[in-house]
Every structure is written in C-alpha cells, then in structure tokens.
C-alpha cells in the first residue's frame, strides 16, 4: 500500500483513538481508602536515588525518610480500616512521570522529594509539608564559582521534570545570564555530568545535592554554593479531590509531629549515618521546618 495514503489513515487512527478514550467514562479514584480496602493492596511510589527521602537499598527495596512516613500512613490505614493484610506494591517513579502516575491512579501515595507548588496542586493534592529545601548549585571547588552570576554563558545541568529546570530558564532570562541548561535524566546523571566536566554546575534542591555528595567518590572536591533560587516545601503527593484519604495522611503526619516521632525520624535520616555508605548528612533541622512543626502547613512555600 502506498505509504502516504497509509499515513493519512494512520493519522486518522491516531486522532480517533485518544478521542474515543476521552469519551470513555473517566475512572474516578476519588475514594482511595475504599479502593485500598476493597482491593487489599496499595501502590506506593518511590524514588530510586533521592537521598535521604526515598532511594533503593536493593532492587525493589526503597528506604528513606519519606518511605518511613509512607509506611506510617499504611499502618494508620491498617488500624482505621481494621484490615490487617494490605499488600504493598512499590512502583518506581521518576521526576518526569510522578505527577502523571498519581493523577492516573497507578500510584496511591508518593512521599519523596516532590515540591508542593500551586501549579502541581491543580493536578494532585499535597499533605502536610515535611521538609523545606532551596535550589542551589553544586560545583567543583577548583572552579571557584560562587553563584549564578559566575556561570553566565556556561553550562548548568539539572534534572528533567523538576521545578529547578523552569526556575533556571526564568532566572537566565531575567538576569540575562544566557545559561545553557543541560537536562539530565535523573539526579545521579546530573552529578555525573558535573563530575565528567560536561557541566560547570548541577542545580538542584540543596538536600538532594548533599545526598549525592554522600555517595560520591571524592566529596571533598565539591561544594554547594549560591543563594537559594527559591525555597520549596516537600510533601507527600496523593490524588486530588479525596478529602478522606488526605485527612488520614495529614492526621498521621500531625500525630508524628506532636508526639516527637517526627523529630526522631528526622534525626535518624539527617544527622546519623545512613546506608549505603554509613555516612551522615549532619544537617540539623532548619528554622523553617521547626516553624512548620509548631504550625503545620500544606501550602506551597511561597
């Protein structure tokens, strides 16, 4: 068959299929709790290398601050529903697909390093904030870079799908920096770009940069510099328009904050040695996070 004729038919197929799918009654996952108790299983999203929030200790075994928060939520579900056997399914998410996976029902809860902001709040819901981070730059000490101004016209790496990507574009335009932004496919890849010299800096949330340095071969060669581009709040991500589930997650976090469990968990992951190399981040709780403990908020940081 002549290819161009077949092409126009393919075009028709391409447009017809999704349109037909759109007319399909939209599956409403509005009641996550009911779905969990009915099906007896829950899908938790995890990140593969977002130290110390959610990362892989071994294939299929994520650990981290966020993972433990999620496990607490599962405990709360077990108690409130009276159902002892809830099968946990772990689904790896990346910066590029985490929002879509929560919105389309594949993942029920994701507690990693997702920024709570107004644009995302249109697609998904966020629970009480559990961390505050700022986007800064990871550079090689030998390069003597102190901030974005020193990077005018140079290459900066960042991870695809993160808010930092958009921030860099904006700042580059506003301050006429002419930055050449290279999108890495994940955080570890971005660090590799910096290490190999393809990028002069790796821009990412400061806590994630600190986590990457933990695993580096020569952490002493690098430093985190620059004013935070923006202060951002991390929170667990869940589906929109599901007040019952949100209340449960919020209540779990609030309970942890009141009882001092949150403090202990924070210290475990941020001030003590953690896998895989038993090194410590040595990061005491920031002022902003302490304030959040006193008056918890689930709103974007700015």
């Amino acid at each position: 068959m002549n290819f161009s004729r077949s092409f126009s038919r393919c075009l028709f197929l391409l447009l017809a299929l999704p349109s037909a799918m759109l007319m399909w009654p939209a599956w409403s996952y509005a009641d996550t709790l009911k779905k969990i108790t009915d099906s007896g299983s829950m899908t938790l999203g995890y990140r593969e290398s977002s130290i110390p929030f959610s990362y892989l200790e071994a294939p299929g075994r994520p650990i981290g601050f966020g993972v433990e928060v999620a496990n607490k939520v599962v405990e709360a579900i077990r108690q409130s529903s009276g159902k002892k056997e809830i099968k946990l399914v772990y689904q790896a998410v990346t910066s590029q697909n985490r929002l879509a996976l929560v919105a389309n029902g594949t993942v029920d809860l994701e507690c990693g390093s997702t920024t709570n902001n107004a644009a995302r709040a249109k697609e998904v819901s966020f629970a009480v904030n559990y961390f505050y981070a700022g986007s800064r730059l990871l550079v090689k000490k030998a390069a003597h870079i102190k901030g974005l101004a020193d990077l005018a016209g140079k290459t900066v790496a960042t991870t695809t799908g993160t808010t930092t990507f958009g921030q860099l574009r904006k700042v580059s335009l506003e301050k006429n920096l002419n930055l050449s932004v290279v999108p890495a496919k994940d955080h570890a890849d971005g660090f590799l770009l910096l290490e190999s010299g393809r990028a002069m800096a790796f821009a990412m949330d400061d806590i994630l940069l600190a986590g990457l340095l933990l695993n580096a071969k020569n952490p002493a060669d690098y430093e985190i510099v620059g004013e935070p581009l923006q202060v951002e709040a991390y929170a667990c991500m869940l589906r929109k328009d599901d007040p019952a589930f949100k209340k449960l997650v919020d209540d779990t976090l609030l309970g942890m904050m009141k009882s001092g469990e949150f403090d202990k968990l924070y210290n475990k992951w941020f001030t003590m040695p953690i896998p895989p190399r038993a090194r410590s981040l040595a990061l005491p709780m920031s002022q902003r996070l302490r304030e959040n403990l006193k008056s918890p908020s689930d709103q974007p940081a700015s």
């Binding site: 391409l14 998410v93 990346t94 993942v107 695993n215």
Partner: protein, 222 residues
C-alpha cells in the same frame, strides 16, 4: 583521567542488583515474542485476506507502530492505559502489553513476507483437497511459512531483547536498570555501563550464533 576500578565486582553484587533485572528482561522477551507472533499472525492474515474492511485497519496499525519510536509507545501506554482499563497497572505489566502490541507489527510484516513466499500451488492444492480456508492455513500454509521464517523471527527476537533496555523510560527494573542502579549505589557508574555492554554482547552474540545453527538445520531449499 579517571581510573577504572573493577574491584567491586562480586557474585553477591550481581545477585543483588543484576539478577532480578536479567530475569525480567528474559521474561519480557519470551512473553513479548510469543504474544507478538500470535497477534502478528492474526494481523498478517487480516492484511492478506483481500477484504478491505480487515486489511485497512491492520495495515494502518502496522504502519503506525512502525513509524513511532518504541519509547513513545511505552510512554503512551504507561500514562494512558490506566484511564482506558479503568484500573492502575504497574510498569512491568504495561511494558509487557506495549511490547506485544509493538512487536506484533514487525512480526506481522515478517509473516506476511513468509506467507507470500509460499507458492500459490500449495494453497490451491489445499482447496482442491476440500480443505476450508482455516484448515488450509492451519495445516498447509502456516507451518511452511513459519519454518521458512524461523531465522528471521529469531533475529527479531534478539532485537526485541535489545529493545527491552528501553523500558527504563517507564521505571521498570530490567537488566540495564539493574546495572545502572548498581553503578550509582556503589559510586561506579562507568564500570557498570561497561559491564552492561559486555553482558548484552555475550548474550546477543551467543543467541545470534544459535540462530545461525538453527538456520542451517531448518531451512530448506525450494
């Protein structure tokens, strides 16, 4: 210049990170081959049936799958399947469905060439003996077509195995992902990539030598 450091290689490391990925890649290859050939046969028969109502959709489907990258099809299915099916599915199941759907197009083309290469006399003889269309296909045409196409089908399977490395775009844990995670967790990504390349090479090369042996055994001269 960075020096390479292969000291971290050990069977324990292999077991922890790589084995699971290898099993998934192999499973995906086998399931996608079987499913793809089954669906591909149906598509090929639809295209060769001579009825526009059957041939038209089959041809459009095949050409669509052949012009779009596998990564895009994976992303489409992964993000939109849950809306279609009405329930969430994991990355692994999504990968299996996508691969079957995608590879079916290629298997369809291979089988169409194979069936087309069977002399018409075979089909006519079948009809002359009183066999119906379905019986003719099942007993006369398809066995010969398959036998002739086995080397090409196996080569396509090897390509399929290589393509399974693309599922990392949707977060499924395959062989390449296993090496990548190992490399990143142990701080040796470069050595991990080299190891991945070697393992893939060994596997695919052995398989292609196998295909060559099979070709010598199975092929017949007309």
């Amino acid at each position: 210049m960075m020096t390479l450091d292969f000291s971290f290689f050990s069977t324990q490391w292999l077991q922890t990170y790589v084995l699971q990925g290898l099993l998934f890649s192999l499973q995906l290859t086998v399931v996608a081959t079987v499913g793809g050939i089954a669906l591909g046969t149906v598509l090929a028969l639809m295209r060769l049936s001579g009825r526009r109502l059957l041939a038209w959709p089959a041809a459009s489907y095949v050409n669509l799958m052949r012009s779009v990258p596998l990564v895009m099809v994976l992303l489409w299915f992964f993000l939109l399947m849950p809306s279609l099916l009405g329930r969430p599915i994991g990355a692994e199941s999504s990968a299996v469905i996508t691969f079957i759907a995608f590879e079916a197009a290629f298997f369809c083309e291979i089988l169409r060439a194979g069936i087309g290469a069977i002399p018409r006399g075979q089909r006519d003889a079948g009809f002359a003996l009183g066999l119906g269309y379905a019986q003719n296909m099942r007993l006369v045409i398809l066995p010969q077509a398959f036998r002739m196409m086995i080397p090409v089908l196996l080569t396509q399977t090897i390509i399929l195995f290589q393509d399974t490395s693309l599922v990392y775009a949707i977060g499924a844990y395959d062989l390449l992902k296993g090496f990548e995670v190992a490399g990143k967790n142990l701080g040796r990504p470069v050595e991990a990539y080299l190891a991945a390349a070697s393992v893939y090479f060994l596997l695919c090369f052995s398989l292609s030598q196998l295909v060559r042996r099979v070709q010598q055994r199975v092929a017949f001269v007309r």
